[in-house]
Structure formats: structure tokens, C-alpha cells
Symmetry: C2
Subunit: 339 residues, 2 copies
DNA sequence: TAAATAAACGAAACCGGTTTCAAAATAGAT
DNA sequence: ATCTATTTTGAAACCGGTTTCGTTTATTTA
């Protein structure tokens, strides 16, 4: 568009007004040394007077740096987990002058082709990427990603490469804490509900769950194990199934969304938590507080921060060591001693 | 970074390999006419062989177009409403080759200054912007925005200018439908709970509510009107307050989040919906289905689509006529006839 | 077959910055 | 006052595309 005929003002304009070369203006903009203080002030004054701000596109082209970070999320977009991680990413990258490119699915009009991860990154020349909650095997490009030179940090997926690293919670510990909590309340018969074990956190939690259950001499029948989905609906499904069984657990360990669904399903049946069933959750989502759910917290905001810092480190050729976040038990009211 | 020494391949490389000029390659890329079919095929072949994709940054600089759209959201980021609108934006803009820039709060390292709306847009040379659910008076830059030449579309805020337009639901109708529904079930004493009336939708809904209540000869005591917040917590607050009143409504009209909070609060008190209170919601959020809430639906995904199309129209100098989306009643189980 | 017309192509300028490096200006030393 | 060392400065190349417009090549027409 012709922008109402008003051409944005450029570095050349500033140079002319200030009677210096554009090279000098550029150096002032970037706070380089070797510029006379008087000159610097004069240039700054002109810049201010004309409300000048450098064209990021031109700067990107020239510097081969976009100050853009791509944010890719597994399809169940904007779920409750992301919702708490993203602000940490935003705050950290934002304070370093980065903007976040939230990738849409298609590319330049033309053919409507769906482009993959790498193409998107290269195309926009992002300086790096953060990938949230992808599930192993869901993206065929992971290998080329590892071989590529685009800095990337995964959250909740353990993938490493020269320019690739990850942030993940200590999910094994989470499960241990959950089971130990129930054990200490006297529970011995305990079930489990979480998302697909192709998800790394769910896989690790399940390992931790089984190990701890065995170590403490507790029992978990195979039919008490549900591993399909992360949503509330699934919680209803879990309760329906449990209901129809002869033997039932006295307690369940379940991811928060699922746990909330379970609680609601029980309520609708006139039962209560923890009266009829004790539940310990995973994640400590925002909603869990409202349901008074005892749960093992993931430090979600902090994960966003950590992932961003890790990414910046990789971009700047510093450490790319993976980060494991601590977890801890948040005691609320969804568990009680066995009668 | 040195990108592992691998320089990305450029249009010049392609031109050389294909024995043509970069101008010709450019024309092939952009599907211009006036290129011999044989030449075109040859160039395309080389492009494919080298897995070439044009540098968007360079293209943006040259074309004075970024194919970037800024997405700004009022701070209660990623709430349940946005969550359903955004996919519509994404799909529509994505299919047109646009990417979405999700704006973070700070700009180029330097001073850590917080930049405003306009600066962000200009700085990144976005082709346009979509602003979600901002509240009148919350952003001081609205006026300069109206005067500016950056195409912008508001969702849920009625602001118009030469390059500015908006998309909003027919909120007045929503309220009318809600009240009429309750009236037809015999309710005459009805309360109201919604967010601040500084929000345009909440304002319009309230007008519609009062008008319809009066028109149909129903009653709404002043103390039955709650207009502070859009969240579940507020629903608890509403129920607590109602509880303590001598006169109580037989039904409430309430925004979905608030309604859900009310339902939960009632459950916790051993009461039921609609047994003890009928409720009609606004919005039809995802969660409302799980609560079996009768509600007036906003076409959220479609609003995202409409806003995107409107924005593209403005960018391409076509119509900038505001769009009002229809709403309709979704009958579920949260209302019953008065006994 | 020559001239007129149409189609295809490419040289060069441009978008708005950064960076290199030689030249100019200034300061310091003798 | 002259010469050297140090700061400052700016011309020009570069980043990787797009676009204009004149030139070359191919096709028609006479």
C-alpha cells in the first residue's frame, strides 16, 4: 500500500539532516565506540526529532539475524499447559529484543503447500525455535532438525543435537512424590491415568509410578491403568470404566486435566473426592486450584524462562546443556487417609 | 552464528546454475508472465534440485511488505475465548502466506523500553494487525492508531478509521435470546453476571438484557446485577452474594466462565442447576459443553476468519466495512420451567 | 526475404540497513 | 612547527531479493 503517500523515514534521511554519513548513524544506533560524543548527541537529536526507528527488515537482511524466534506447538494448541509456559517465554525473549513468530500452517500464497518445520524456520530466517510438547514420531523432520544448524529447544521432549537441546521436568520424581503421598495415607490399591506414553513426560511418570508402587508394596491392576489422553473428557471415560469393575482402587494418580474430569464425573454421580476416591494429579494447572486438587507441580512459567535462556545460549554459542526442572507436591484436599 | 559454514543458497546461485539472470529467476518464483515455458521449467528444476526457497527478509525489504500480521491480545492472555478465535485467524492468514507475529513486550536489547502498539507494528513492518478484546481506554494509543496508516482489525471493540475496522458479535441479540428463553420457561425474577461494561460486548449485552427484561415485564433487582469479571472465581463470588440475599432470582444470565463458576459453587453447596437455579450463558466456550450449559453462542472460529478476511481486504484497499456476527441459542440442560 | 511486431530476457537500480577499511581530522610528542 | 599516533569519519560493498526498461530473439506479416 502507498501508506497514504508518507514514506517512512530512513537512515539516509537522518544522515542527511545530521550532516554525517549513514555509516555514522548506524554506529550511533548500535552504540558502537569510535564516535565523537558531540556527533553522537547530534545524531540522536535528529533521530528523536524525526521519531526515527530503524527498519528491522533491512537490519535483519544485513545482519543475517532476525531477532525472531519461532514458536511451534503440538496441535492441541493453547492448552492449559502451554498457557502457563508461554508467558515465561514471552517475558524472557521479549526482554532481549526478540519477537515471537507464531507459525501458521501454510506458506506464500502460491500452491498452498504445507511446509514443514525447517522450511518455516529457514524461510523466515528465525534465529531459533522453541517447540512445545511434541510427541516422539509425530514430526518426521526431527532428524533433519538435529542435523541442521538452527538452534532449537524442545520443551517436554528429549532431543539433543549440536544446536538442539531441551527442558523437561523431573517427571520420574513427580510420580514418586504422588505415589509416596498416597502410600503415607494408607492407600495400597492405586490406579493411574495419563496421556499417551509416547509423550516423554507421560512415559517417565509411568515408569516412576510403577517403580514406586512396586517398591512400596502397593498394588495396581492392569485394568486400572489408563494411558490415552490428556483431557477432561478422558476423565469421564476413566470413571465410567472404573465404575463397572468389581475391584476398585482407593486412589488414583492422574494428570490434572484428566483428574478434573474424574472429579466432575464423580460429582455428577453423587460421589465425592476424596470421600469416595483419593486423587493426586500431575502438573498443577490453573484449574486444579479451583478443584482443590492435590497435585505435583511443574514449574511451567519457569520452564518457559529456562527454555528461552537455553535457546539464547545456543544462539550465542554458549552451553546447550539440557535442563531438568524440579517438581514438588502441592497438598490440597483431594486425598484422605484410608478408612 | 556461522551456520556451520553452510551459506544458504540464494537467487544468484540459482540464476548461475540455470544460466539465466536473477531477474528471470525472480519472475519464475513469482509466476510472472513473459517467461518461456522451457526456461521456467529449467529454473524450477534447478530450484527443486537445490531445495531453494527465497529469503523472506530480502523479499520483504524489496517489496515493502512483510507478509506478517501482528496479533495483540488484551493481557488476560490466551483465555478461553481467544483460544477458539485464534485458530480461525491462523488458518485464514496462513493460507494466504501470512505469518503471525505474536508480540512480546520489549524491543531491541538496548534500553529495555516498553514499546507501544504503533512502534511494534512499524518496527517489524507488519502488513496489518489484529487486536483481540481490548477494552476501551486501556490503550492510550488508539487515537494515533486511527490516524495511522497501518491496517488494523479489532475483535470485540468498535473502533473505526480509514485503515481500521472491527468484527463483533450481535451481543444485543445474544442478551435478547437469553432473556426470551428464560421468559418462555416462566421465569420472571432474573439476575445478571458479566464482565466490566467497559468491554463493548458486555456493555451491549447488558443493554439488551435490561431492554428485554423490561419489555417482557420481568424483574431484575439491582443487587442481582454483577458486572466485574469474566472468570470462574467471580462465579463463586456471585453465588456467595446471592445466597445472603432475602429475595433471590429464579434464573441468571451469565457469561460462560462466570456461569461455570456459579455451577461449581452450587454443586459444592449441594445444590443443582437447573434444579435450584436456571442459568443461560454467553459465548458457548468449550468448557460450557461439559457443564451442560444452555448458552448463546458466539461464532468464535468464524470471527477469527472474518477478522482475517477483513484485514486482508483493508490491506488490499478493498472494503473495510465492520462485520457483525450472528449469535444463536444453544439449548442444553441448565434451564428448566419454573415450578 | 525484409520489415514489423511480439515475446523473452537481463543489466542495473533499488529496498534500508551494517561493516570494512582507507582517508581525514585531531591530539600528542619532540 | 613538524611528525607520529590516535580518533573520527565516510565511500563503497554487501545482504538477497524485486522491478523497470532497453536489448535481443523469435514470430508474423508484407
Amino acid at each position: 500500500m502507498d501508506k497514504a503517500g508518507v514514506r517512512a523515514i530512513t537512515i539516509d534521511d537522518i544522515a542527511k539532516k545530521a550532516n554525517v554519513s549513514k555509516a555514522t548513524v548506524s554506529k550511533v544506533i548500535n552504540s558502537y565506540s569510535g564516535i565523537n560524543e558531540k556527533t553522537r548527541q547530534a545524531v540522536l537529536k535528529v533521530m528523536r526529532e524525526h521519531n526515527y526507528w530503524p527498519n528491522t527488515t533491512a537490519r535483519s537482511l544485513s545482519m543475517q539475524r532476525s531477532y525472531l524466534v519461532g514458536l511451534f506447538m503440538a496441535s492441541e494448541l493453547l492448552d492449559s499447559f502451554f498457557r502457563e509456559v508461554i508467558p515465561g517465554i514471552e517475558a524472557t525473549l521479549g526482554s532481549q529484543g526478540y519477537d515471537i513468530l507464531y507459525f501458521a500452517d501454510k506458506r506464500p500464497g502460491n500452491t498452498g503447500v504445507t511446509f514443514g518445520y525447517l522450511e518455516k524456520c529457514r524461510d523466515r530466517r528465525v534465529d531459533g525455535a522453541i517447540l512445545l510438547s511434541y510427541i516422539r514420531g509425530d514430526i518426521p523432520e526431527f532428524e533433519s532438525l538435529l542435523a541442521s544448524d538452527i538452534p532449537a529447544v524442545f520443551i517436554d521432549m528429549t532431543l539433543e543435537g549440536p544446536y538442539t537441546s531441551y527442558v523437561i521436568s523431573d517427571n520420574h520424581k513427580s510420580a514418586r512424590l504422588a505415589v509416596e503421598c498416597l502410600h503415607s495415607l494408607g492407600h495400597r490399591e492405586v490406579g493411574y491415568a495419563d496421556g499417551t506414553s509416547r509423550s516423554v513426560p507421560a512415559e517417565r511418570r509411568f515408569q516412576g509410578f510403577m517403580e514406586t508402587v512396586n517398591r512400596l508394596g502397593m498394588h495396581c491392576r492392569p485394568e486400572w491403568i489408563f494411558q490415552d489422553s490428556f483431557d477432561e473428557e478422558y476423565g469421564y471415560h476413566v470413571i465410567e470404566n472404573l465404575e463397572s469393575m468389581e475391584q476398585q482402587p482407593t486412589a488414583m494418580v492422574a494428570q490434572d486435566n484428566v483428574a478434573v474430569g474424574m472429579i466432575r464425573a464423580l460429582w455428577e454421580r453423587g460421589k465425592s473426592v476424596p470421600g469416595d476416591l483419593s486423587i493426586v494429579g500431575f502438573d498443577d494447572l490453573e484449574i486444579s486450584r479451583h478443584y482443590n486438587l492435590t497435585t505435583v507441580k511443574q514449574q511451567k512459567y519457569e520452564m518457559g524462562v529456562a527454555a528461552s535462556e537455553l535457546l539464547l545460549n545456543i544462539i550465542n554459542h554458549k552451553s546447550n546443556k539440557p535442563i531438568v526442572m524440579d517438581t514438588d507436591l502441592i497438598i490440597r484436599g483431594s486425598c484422605m487417609s484410608i478408612k
